[in-house]
Symmetry: C2
Subunit: 336 residues, 2 copies
């Protein structure tokens, strides 16, 4: 059996940490023994927690004296840097002590510290934050989700190369179809950046992915394209709007379906189907955003997720390393 994937975990970041982190690791170990965890954080607390969960064999604790809280500015985080659980965990990837870093902590801090500590991949101008999003046939990779408020056309090309590599490392048996998010689907529509990126993607043949063309917001979830490329402003608004819409509909539905006794009875009858429906849309299953473009992979778990969501981001870390994400990105960049 091959060596396990070594994950450097910022054990102190996010709501309910470190308990949530350790519970997530515990849950993940029950499903798969293919990971080893380097835990960065308060040694005494962590030792007690892993002892209780009987997972000492899969973990190594590295004591850190400080951590970055959710309300600290990226600038403060940058100053505190190396002595924090987050900073030390990122350093572990740079120093080849771990394959990948995972944190549920402060997003702004994670972005800035990762860029400070890890080198950029040669040929990439700007890193991008990518996330997963369900579609009718499976799962989309969507990027950038907010690492870059403004983007040039060349950034969109990098995002296409990196996003398709991520898709292939997560779903090796499927073909990647890259689409540029736009206000219309016809060639010639959109801003200048999009038009330039469109022409380059159309002309520069890359055998590792197909170029689908433009895609409009209402077709993101169709499944005809599975790597959705856009600037960080638009991507962030689109993802959050989708989240807000989903919450709104599901809450309205629950309210309608529990109004009367008959409704409640029918809910019981449909329980299994409703469970299956909710499970498919469970955001915890899509938990984990990936910072692409650096020499080492960085995964951000949602700060507010629970142990189950955190366990899903561990699974994502494993797939990224086993799927050779960084090699795949390098290969795509060669074809630029």
């Amino acid at each position: 059996m091959s060596e396990p994937v070594i994950i450097a975990v910022d054990a102190m970041g996010g709501e309910g940490s470190p308990n949530k982190v350790i519970d997530g690791i515990h849950y993940s170990i029950k499903k798969s023994k293919d990971n080893f965890f380097n835990l960065y954080g308060n040694k005494n607390i962590l030792l007690e927690l892993i002892d209780k969960k009987k997972i000492k064999k899969y973990c190594n604790i590295i004591d850190t004296t400080d951590f970055i809280s959710d309300d600290e500015s990226p600038l403060t985080a940058a100053k505190k840097g190396k002595n924090t659980s987050m900073g030390s965990a990122i350093h572990a990837v740079k120093d080849k002590k771990a394959d990948i870093i995972l944190s549920a902590g402060n997003t702004g801090a994670l972005l800035i510290l990762s860029r400070m500590i890890l080198n950029m991949l040669s040929g990439v101008e700007k890193p991008a934050l990518a996330g997963l999003w369900p579609n009718k046939k499976g799962i989309n990779v969507v990027l950038d989700l907010g690492a870059n408020i403004e983007c040039k056309y060349s950034n969109l090309i990098d995002f296409s190369n990196m996003g398709s590599a991520l898709f292939k490392s997560l779903f090796p048996d499927e073909k990647a179809f890259v689409a540029l998010l736009n206000v219309a689907s016809e060639e010639g529509k959109g801003n200048e950046n999009l038009k330039k990126a469109y022409n380059l993607l159309k002309e520069n043949f890359n055998s590792n992915y197909d170029f689908f063309g433009y895609i409009e917001g209402n077709h993101i979830m169709d499944g005809s394209a599975n790597v959705i490329v856009t600037d960080g402003f638009t991507g962030n608004v689109a993802l959050k709007t989708a989240e807000g819409t989903a919450n709104f509909i599901i809450k309205s539905l629950k309210k309608s379906l529990t109004k009367t006794f008959i409704n409640k009875l029918s809910m019981i009858l449909s329980r299994n189907s409703l469970k299956e429906f909710q499970s498919k849309l469970d955001p915890r299953k899509y938990n984990g955003a990936i910072l692409l473009g650096l020499q080492g992979p960085v995964v951000k778990s949602h700060g507010a997720t629970d142990y189950y969501g955190f366990a899903h981001s561990i699974e994502m870390c494993n797939k990224i390393i086993r799927g050779k994400l960084i090699d795949k990105i390098k290969l795509n960049l060669l074809k630029k």
Copy 2:
């Protein structure tokens, strides 16, 4: 009783027209007699249709020899211009023969012809397309939905003034809260345009609306702000992404709920609640986008909607005129 609102209707635009248009008018007349319709299109066809529906008393037909199809470019539309049903209907507003123009036809053509024929309101740099969107407490006005791919901060200020005037003309008893769509809610985040617009809206007190601040995509439907202001690219992507998400969820739900016999039975038990749920989210009820910033109001019905959706856009036209939209916009612009 006051004079009815005179609506210039492009009777030939959109899927299933002119039948859908006449059916929509027929349905609308059953609900309210407060409108009179100037119908622009093929006289023979229209005459037969209104005769059959017995609505001749509420309509006047103006024969036009040409119309603009959905696949024609805005440039072709601009050339055909005045002799088309759409162009003639817009001219009726300019010539004060109608209060407002309504079309379910080609959006690009409607935007360009409206801008060519109708003058801009003094003080407005660019017109914007506004739409309605449900929220937890009621309804949002969202703009720009795609009239301007790129916007300056001063456009965002105009959109705030126009969007809040639209909100107040549609919902006179409610207070308008303007928010700028952004990737974060804290002051100081976002691009330069947003920061400049934020500072101006914060400082320039306007008693006709409150400034809520920034809003993120996941809070659009909270109801705490009800006039959501953004550039046309972001607004278009956000609206379409919300539509796509809603469709995806409702289809997944239906699939889950009809899987087994027990499920189907329980669907029957919940029928009324599910109907109420679907009715609340029925996009036909929010049908109608409004082009703001011109001397006359222009309403665009969704091309693919049916008679019921078209009737809702007629109701919107009535509210806009009865609510004195143009006067309200002028008043807001005075405070700039």
